[in-house]
């Protein structure tokens, strides 16, 4: 299995402030990787560096075997699709919104959408089950449905790697599960590689194949959820007392918080 994304000795960040220090890691093709870590650990900085919002000071980012700097903006958009936690919701129908994902493939002087664009957009709308909202305005949908539509738009870019920045933090548990189930399905059925920042350790353990735990601009530990989500590492990185156990159904690690009163009495 090849690598879809390879980071080599990344140094990047804000002037005189927060910096990523020598980050190196690989994302394998069709893997489902989560980036976890406390606030200000460098998750978002790393994400912004990969998508090009923050420029590299040294190191190299390689996508599908080629240096990211050698791609044109449109070529990059055909490789990487990005979903963020919050995004502008223009007054557009769901179908028109999803169709915008075809932009990286459009000819410079193409005025009308090609029939193929509609075919592809509809295909992914059926896959993510947002086709029923086709003619609704995106502003009328719930936050969870909007997130599904944003993911559908990203899919119509037909990317090799889907990057998500906390796609579920603002959703209730029903929609969290709905969005993450969808990502898992895309990962399994389409062999789509997924790299996602996720705050919730239990969701991270439940859904991701690989976890990358960050702390102070460095990678603290990476590996399977079982390897990463143990109380020692979590307590070290988050400076918070936790208990870890196995989820009885999925056999994945689950993290329990310990409140102050319980801590005092035990």
């Amino acid at each position: 299995m090849g690598k879809i994304l390879k980071l080599e000795n990344i140094v990047a960040g804000y002037k005189n402030k927060f910096m990523l220090q020598n980050i190196s890691f690989d994302v394998m093709k069709s893997s489902f990787t989560g980036i976890i870590g406390p606030n200000a650990s460098g998750k978002t900085t790393l994400f912004k560096t990969i998508i090009g919002d923050i420029s590299l000071q040294s190191g190299q980012i390689i996508i599908d075997g080629q240096d990211i700097l050698l791609f044109s903006l449109k070529e990059k958009a055909q490789k990487l699709a990005i979903v963020t936690q919050y995004f502008d919701t223009p007054n557009l129908s769901v179908e028109d919104y999803v169709l915008l994902g075809r932009y990286p493939y459009n000819n410079r002087f193409q005025f009308f959408e090609a029939k193929n664009d509609y075919t592809i957009a509809h295909k992914y709308m059926h896959l993510t089950d947002v086709f029923k909202y086709k003619d609704r305005m995106i502003t009328e949908l719930s936050g969870g449905a909007q997130q599904m539509v944003a993911i559908t738009r990203a899919l119509t870019q037909e990317p090799d790697l889907l990057l998500l920045d906390e796609p579920t933090s603002h959703l209730d548990i029903k929609h969290q599960v709905q969005v993450l189930d969808l990502l898992q399905k895309l990962n399994k059925e389409l062999k789509l590689s997924v790299l996602m920042i996720i705050h919730d350790l239990n969701l991270a353990g439940e859904y991701c194949d690989n976890l990358l735990m960050m702390s102070h601009g460095k990678i603290h530990k990476s590996g399977t959820p079982k390897e990463v989500l143990n109380y020692k590492d979590i307590e070290m990185v988050y400076d918070t007392l936790v208990v870890t156990q196995e989820n009885p159904l999925s056999k994945k690690p689950a993290v329990f918080l310990v409140s102050g009163s319980v801590k005092d009495s035990s």
Partner: protein, 336 residues
């Protein structure tokens, strides 16, 4: 998808029909009124005073109204798209103010006595450009554009230019005073035919350039960050659009004076009527901006005939009222 293109086709067709009707109305109404039949027979003649009224007075005003109305409207539309703010128009960005200041300086210092025909438009364009260059260096040189700072700077520039114009007004002679005031309020009376042709040419060129970027404009609806993720060089795109919008505004304001509100109302009404897709929005905004200004001009020159009202008064009152009523009736109006 055919349904969408069908709707676009009918929108354009009805706007063209409306434009035609407006032009016929503007040709027939004035100090002398012509019926439709008279109009046709006048056009068949090769000379005569009626023919001269049409060719030398009414047609030039219609052309200028169409071009200036269209230019200000698409300029407002594109500026709103760039700033993703419903209150932006050439006026709020200080571009109109810069042009007005340029013209005021020109009149106060008597520069217009040297080149009577071209000095006003040229100084207006210089004034508009001074503001553009200033804005460019203040907020665009940075690698990342800060939209709020540009917006606030524009509002401040509007204040400063209008204060400086006030200062000039209070220190100058009464004859020049009237010149400046009349120009500031806008008029479609322009004796120089070539200047009118130039404005028509530039505004249509502006429309074509905007169409060149129409798919990027559509992608910009996702927000600047997501447009960039789709493969658009947003920094460059915004600079180019901003400069084109400024140029067509500068030339329009320099020729016809400060005509407010057109760049604000027309784009919003069109978003409401034809939707949010710039492929149809650009052309329909241009056409209806032209229609709106031609109609406003008909009112301006007939209400207190034989005298003439400044057209800015008409666009301000009618446009403002229509807009307030429309906003209170519909929540959808201010949406992007």
């Amino acid at each position: 998808m055919n349904k969408k293109y069908n709707r676009w086709f009918w929108s354009i067709l009805s706007l063209l029909a409306l434009l035609f009707a407006t032009i016929v109305l503007a040709l027939s109404i004035g100090e002398v009124n012509f019926s439709l039949g008279e109009l046709i027979s006048i056009f068949q003649k090769s000379e005569g005073i009626e023919r001269s009224i049409l060719y030398n007075i009414r047609i030039p005003r219609i052309l200028l109204g169409f071009a200036v109305g269209g230019a200000l409207s698409i300029s407002g539309l594109v500026l709103q798209a760039i700033y993703r703010n419903p209150l932006v128009e050439p006026y709020t960005l200080g571009i109109s103010g810069g042009a007005a200041l340029g013209v005021a300086i020109c009149i106060v210092f008597g520069l217009n006595e040297f080149f009577p025909l071209l000095s006003l438009p040229i100084s207006g364009v210089i004034g508009a450009f001074a503001v553009i260059v200033f804005m460019y260096f203040i907020s665009m040189r940075r690698t990342h554009l800060n939209i709020n700072s540009i917006l606030l700077t524009g509002v401040m520039i509007s204040f400063i230019t209008s204060s400086v114009i006030m200062f000039l007004l209070s220190t100058t002679t009464s004859e020049k005073l009237q010149n400046i005031i009349f120009w500031t309020m806008g008029s479609l009376e322009e004796p120089n035919k070539y200047l009118i042709y130039l404005v028509v040419f530039v505004s249509i060129l502006g429309l074509l350039i905007f169409y060149f970027f129409v798919s990027q404009l559509n992608a910009l609806r996702l927000g600047e960050a997501h447009a960039k993720y789709l493969g658009i060089n947003t920094n460059l795109l915004i600079k180019v659009l901003f400069i084109v919008a400024s140029v067509i505004t500068g030339i329009s304001v320099a020729t016809a004076g400060v005509i407010g509100f057109v760049g604000l109302i027309v784009p919003h009404l069109m978003r409401y009527l034809v939707g949010n897709d710039y492929r149809i929005l650009l052309i329909s905004t241009f056409l209806s901006g032209g229609i709106f200004l031609i109609l406003s001009d008909v009112l301006a020159r007939t209400i207190i005939s034989p005298n003439e009202l400044p057209i800015g008064v008409i666009t301000g009152i009618i446009g403002g009222l229509v807009f307030i009523v429309a906003i209170s009736k519909s929540k959808k109006l201010l949406k992007f």
